[in-house]
């Protein structure tokens, strides 16, 4: 039951409100999560982020900066958005939702089945988060493993990653299904080998995770045969059985998805 709806006009004001209202207050971005029937938390106070700006997409010599309040649909329509990110965003098939959801809100919801977070992690995206005392940068990879409520103001992709191959894949039952499994991989191609791979999977743990053991097994080495790679990935995940599939299915399928990214691209 929302008792008060706040509309701050600056980042400072938003943070001050959050600090004042405490854990019973939530930031509200587009509303596709917080206003959804199934959102698990019923906040007393909502702090709308709409009036605080953060809607720009800008590039510097080093990076592309995506304001947290940029709509997913606007990302798709912007030339600065890398194609690999557009591919991931399009997996959120429902355009009505893309017209409402913001990139910052999507990242903050930190869902295991996110279509976008795996790709962002695979391209080493960083977040700019702001607290009362500081503005800091944090790797998205680290953000997702910790429950944080700090205000995300930017998502930053370094231009250095643009020379990497970034690919992603998912499994879902129907076109508009929330992805059951997501895989994103980035790497540097070096002859027949790949270097510095980042292998990210969603849908197999509480949050999106990086498969460090798989990365190490692949880094600079000769590519294993496809079935071995599938098994390597499968062996490094521990999904649960739920209504969307058994653990055995998910383990198998995530291996297939990951291998297909390296063998089909």
């Amino acid at each position: 039951m929302v008792l008060e709806f706040y509309k701050p006009t600056s980042i400072t004001e938003a943070i001050a409100l959050k600090n004042k209202l405490g854990s019973e207050a939530l930031y509200l971005a587009g509303g596709t999560e917080v206003n959804n029937l199934f959102f698990p938390v019923k906040p007393k106070y909502l702090i709308s982020l709409e009036g605080i700006g953060l809607k720009a997409i800008e590039e510097t010599d080093e990076a592309i900066h995506f304001g947290a309040n940029v709509l997913l649909q606007d990302l798709l329509e912007n030339n600065l958005t890398p194609d690999f990110l557009k591919v991931a965003i399009k997996r959120l098939v429902n355009k009505n939702i893309r017209n409402m959801a913001t990139l910052g809100g999507h990242v903050a919801s930190n869902k295991s089945c996110s279509d976008i977070i795996p790709t962002l992690i695979a391209c080493k995206a960083a977040l700019e988060v702001v607290t009362e005392n500081e503005t800091k940068s944090i790797l998205l990879k680290d953000y997702v493993t910790h429950e944080k409520t700090d205000l995300i103001t930017k998502i930053i992709i370094s231009k250095k990653v643009l020379n990497r191959t970034v690919v992603s894949n998912n499994y879902c039952r129907s076109a508009n299904d929330v992805s059951i499994l997501n895989v994103a991989i980035s790497y540097v191609k070096e002859g027949a080998n790949i270097r510095e791979p980042i292998v990210v999977v969603g849908g197999v743990a509480k949050h999106v995770i990086c498969l460090t053991a798989v990365e190490e097994a692949l880094d600079g080495k000769e590519m294993p045969v496809r079935e071995d790679l599938e098994k390597l990935v499968s062996d490094n995940v521990s999904p649960i059985t739920d209504i969307r599939g058994t653990a055995a299915f998910k383990k198998y399928e995530v291996g297939v998805l990951a291998a297909s990214l390296l063998f089909n691209n």
Binding site: L28, L37, N94, R173, S174, V178
Partner: protein, 954 residues
């Protein structure tokens, strides 16, 4: 708080609660165009609005979020009463069926064409990607957008979007705008939810968390004390009257096995208490204050568990028969708390063994048939529980008008609804008026009375107007679903492929109550067995009670499951014979003129009527379909993991129930020569009102716009059994046709006197004129003549339609699938549905019926499935977890083809078209998967996981 918002260019100010969703705010302010199909899950898009230039879901927005912004709703599209280019394009393309999602689709199209004046199919898919339409199968939207695009630059642009039939007829067989279409594309008040008056009460139901339990005690004291609570009903104070919720002809072949609220709950979501309150919030709060003490029983969820010796009994109360009680009926062990099961007549149920109904029958001698066979195939096929998911959930609004009860219903069966409510309320039928409003999708689920009687009873008791609408979760757990079935098929054939014997042993799970417990499973036999000509046929049907969510009618009735089992079995047999499946079907299929003796033993609770096939388009359908899909060619994919396969299925349905169904209509000549049609037929969005209007327009040679019509209002229109069993075209259409013919006779009789010529020298000609040898007289003059002080009075004719003849629709469905053997994913690349519906009365709408039926069942075949836990709780009772096909699931090449036949018994040669479309997808896709991979998918859905298991990958 106060917000300012500009809606359709008009600045407005509202006081709102920060929790109030924008959808609710708009509806509160009488902007009814925003609908609701998912309870704020953001998955249906029915509530779409344009907010600051973007199409968004208003159910996911809180009212403060629109402060200072600009909103457009569909109201903005038409100027005064003139329809916009987009609205007329939708009507002409036939994409307006139930109309519930239409405002959202129109807004999406407006946005698309504003941003892109030459959109591709992919652009259109993206635009409509968030909007759920269960009726149309989406395919015709592509043409609708193309047409709208052209009309925006040329308002008079016309293009033929559907084939036309019968050159000699003016409106039958031609695309004509749906008579209820303008109302729906304008988003006018049309649905039950639009009729609710200020001050009405809300009704909410406390539902059982247990699948099987007795209510030991219930305490409503605290809830009743809440301010604003008007009335609470429990098993203690509800009428002691048993009934069945199935909207079938009386006496029903379904047992009366429930009361409004029983002392025993039989499924998760069963009724425990009703709360009527001044507001929805108070009603919901009151539910939390009701204390219930349950005695929990072991749930029975599967056919095997129900059939097991010593299984817990779902109905262990008194068993009674109105007629035909068996001599060995024994109620000595009856448990009082279980209540009663009252059979209207024997349907061979035995609740002491959890058997709700059973039936056996056949022709010839099955043993002889199998002895004659060179090859025998025997296999079992299973279907799971799927839900109808109309975008508009079940909804009703009840109110008193003097001493009469008025029920505004979204129903397929207004007269059955009135009869059932009268029984429960213990009042006569004349005290009840049922007004069927526009129905936002029914698909069989609205053939049953699942909430109307609750609101009706509460209004009758309290005198208060009551609005009661199911949540999406209630739609899954408390309305209607397809019966899960297990069908063992045994086939015998000679080496040349000629069938010698067919045996179907069918077990069905009806869940907690016996709605359609005999007829749905029987239908699996009666709409599949007659497709094959075979001398020796036998079937056994047993339906079990259990504690799963209630089942009932769903578009196709039992046929999709019977068709899946028998068609796939026929493919398996063909493989054993080393025969091409298409050749096997051609060798054994029914033909024009075939005598269907098997129908004698497939009546609904009584002896059926054998039929000689009066028209059959299977031959051309198979021939054309095979060419379209290039049947003989084996397709290859560049991806070595992907195999491509093709499949085919032949299908049939009925056109109503000969000897059981009945329809009526009345046509009156108005003072200026125009006409008023009163049809009992219930239009669910299928175009039935348009069809009956065409019948009258054709016979009486008038423009369709000179006929106004009212349908399905029990006070105003004559009786009709309702919209089920594919009866609309044949029965309601024929009733209108007969009424028009009767009026024609009266018109000619009067004209004969006016023109002083014998009737056989007169003819009715267009427009509305009686032509004699030398003179003519207009309908207007005839009407003035009869209605004046010396006339015979207004010319009115009523007619009934009943028949013992069947007009059976046939079809052949072909598909091509790509199966990724590494991931298990199945992609339906091509789907061709070739159907014979006799003369397609509304061709563009008939195509939409086919596309819609097919896409629904592609969903059932590939991913739709209700998942229950071990306690009978549905784990995916929402549209996020229960997946339904959206526009991006449409096959790449999706074609519906109307195969021309002219049935001698159907009105102007017409037969049914909708339900049959549900019967082909499962067997055709399963066959194609086999063709691609060599695995037989004998349970639906054909999920990636199941395919991988079959392939031995996991």
């Amino acid at each position: 708080m106060k917000i300012k918002v500009t809606i359709n260019d008009i600045p407005r100010e509202y006081y709102t609660d920060p929790n109030e969703k924008v959808r609710d705010l708009l509806r509160r302010e009488a902007i009814t165009r925003v609908r609701d199909g998912c309870d704020s899950q953001g998955s249906c898009g029915a509530c779409s609005i344009i907010l600051n230039g973007k199409l968004v879901n208003s159910c996911l927005l809180l009212s403060p979020q629109i402060d200072g912004k600009e909103i457009y709703t569909v109201e903005h599209l038409s100027k005064n009463r003139e329809l916009s280019a987009i609205q007329t394009a939708f009507l002409d393309a036939g994409v307006v069926q139930c109309g519930y999602c239409t405002p959202a689709m129109l807004l999406a199209t407006k946005k698309l064409l504003e941003e892109n004046n030459n959109p591709t199919r992919e652009n259109m898919k993206d635009t409509f990607s968030g909007i759920f339409c269960r009726c149309t199968g989406y395919e015709q939207y592509f043409k609708a957008v193309d047409l709208a695009k052209e009309r925006l630059s040329d308002p008079h642009y016309v293009v033929k979007l559907a084939p036309e039939f019968r050159e000699n007829l003016r409106v039958v067989g031609k695309a004509k705008r749906k008579v209820d279409g303008p109302k729906l594309v304008r988003g006018e008040r049309a649905f039950v939810e639009d009729m609710v008056e200020p001050g009405s009460c809300y009704l909410k139901v406390l539902r059982s968390p247990h699948a099987h339990a007795y209510i030991k005690d219930i305490d409503t004291t605290e809830a009743e004390a809440l301010p604003g609570v008007v009335h609470i009903v429990t098993h203690k104070n509800c009428p002691d009257i048993y009934y069945n919720q199935a909207g079938q002809g009386f006496p029903e072949p379904s047992p009366y096995d429930r009361k409004l609220i029983s002392e025993k709950v039989r499924h998760v979501g069963d009724r425990v208490a009703f709360v009527v309150a001044e507001t929805k919030k108070i009603a919901e709060h009151a539910l939390t204050k009701i204390k219930v003490d349950y005695e929990i029983l072991k749930p029975v969820l599967s056919i095997d568990e129900a059939a097991k010796e010593g299984a817990p009994l779902i109905h262990n109360g008194n068993i009674e028969y109105v007629v035909g009680a068996p001599d060995d009926l024994d109620n000595s062990c009856a448990e009082k708390r279980d209540g009663k099961v009252i059979y209207q007549f024997p349907i061979h149920g035995n609740p002491r063994k959890n058997i709700a109904a059973s039936v056996s029958g056949g022709i010839g001698d099955i043993d002889v048939g199998f002895k004659e066979a060179d090859v025998i195939h025997e296999q079992t096929y299973e279907s799971t529980q799927v839900q109808c998911t109309p975008v508009e959930p079940h909804v009703v609004y009840t109110r008193m008008e003097g001493d009469r009860l008025v029920i505004h219903a979204s129903t397929q069966v207004p007269w059955h609804l009135r009869r059932i409510c009268a029984r429960i309320l213990d009042i006569s039928e004349n005290k009840i008026r049922v007004i069927k409003e526009r129905v936002g999708g029914g698909f069989g689920s609205k053939q049953d009375i699942v909430l109307e009687e609750v609101a009706a009873y509460c209004t009758w008791v309290t005198g208060r107007s009551i609005f009661f609408r199911f949540t999406r979760e209630e739609e899954f757990i408390s309305s209607r679903t397809r019966h899960p079935m297990r069908i063992k098929v045994k086939l015998g054939a000679k080496k040349d492929g000629k069938l010698t014997a067919i045996k179907m042993d069918l077990e069905a799970n009806t869940g907690p109550y016996g709605s359609h417990c005999l007829t749905v499973p029987m239908n699996a036999c009666s709409k599949s067995l007659p497709l094959f000509l075979c001398d020796h046929v036998k079937f056994n049907v047993t339906t079990y009670y259990s504690n799963i969510p209630p089942t009932g009618a769903y578009q196709g009735y039992g046929a999709p499951k019977g068709s899946y089992a028998l068609q796939l079995a026929s493919h398996e047999l063909a493989e054993k014979l080393g025969m091409d499946h298409l050749a096997f079907l051609e060798k054994n299929r029914v033909h024009d003129g075939s005598m269907l003796e098997i129908l004698r033993c497939l009546g609904e609770g009584r002896e059926g009527i054998p039929q000689k096939v009066s028209s059959c388009g299977l031959g051309p359908a198979l021939e054309q379909g095979a060419k379209m899909i290039n049947w003989a060619a084996k397709e290859k994919c560049d991806d070595p993991d992907v195999s491509i396969g093709k499949g085919v299925a032949i299908i049939q349905q009925g056109s109503g129930l000969p000897g059981l169904d009945s329809a009526n209509a009345t046509v009156s000549l108005l003072g200026d020569g125009t006409l008023m049609l009163l049809s009992g037929g219930t239009d669910l969005g299928t175009g039935l009102d348009t069809l009956t209007t065409k019948m009258v327009a054709e016979i009486l040679c008038v423009e369709m716009q000179n006929i106004s019509m009212i349908s399905a209002d029990t006070d105003v229109t004559p009786y009709d059994d309702g919209a089920y069993a594919s009866s609309g075209t044949f029965f309601s259409g024929s009733a209108a046709l007969n009424a028009a013919k009767e009026l024609k006779k009266k018109i000619l009789s009067v004209a004969s006197k006016m023109l002083e010529e014998p009737e056989d020298k007169l003819a009715i000609t267009f427009p509305g004129t009686v032509q004699g040898t030398n003179k003519s007289v207009s309908f207007q003059d005839i009407s003035r003549h009869t209605q004046c002080g010396t006339g015979v009075g207004q010319l009115t004719a009523s007619a009934n339609f009943t028949t013992d003849r069947a007009a059976i629709p046939y079809g052949a469905h072909f598909c091509q699938v790509a199966v990724n053997k590494r991931t298990g994913e199945v992609k339906v690349q091509k789907y061709y549905a070739l159907q014979d519906c006799g003369t397609p009365i509304n061709p563009e709408l008939a195509l939409g019926q086919i596309y819609g039926g097919v896409l629904k069942t592609i969903g059932h075949s590939l991913y739709e499935q209700m998942i229950l836990d071990e306690n009978g709780r549905c784990l995916n009772a929402n549209l996020l977890d229960y997946k339904v096909p959206m526009i991006n699931d449409v096959p790449d090449d999706f074609q519906a083809v109307l195969v021309d036949t002219d049935d001698p018994f159907g009105p102007f040669g017409g037969k049914s078209v909708s339900e049959i479309a549900c019967n082909g997808a499962a067997p055709a896709i399963a066959s194609a998967i086999y063709n691609a991979t060599g695995i037989w998918m004998r349970t639906w859905p054909f999920s990636a996981e199941k395919i991988l298991r079959k392939l031995g990958k996991i």
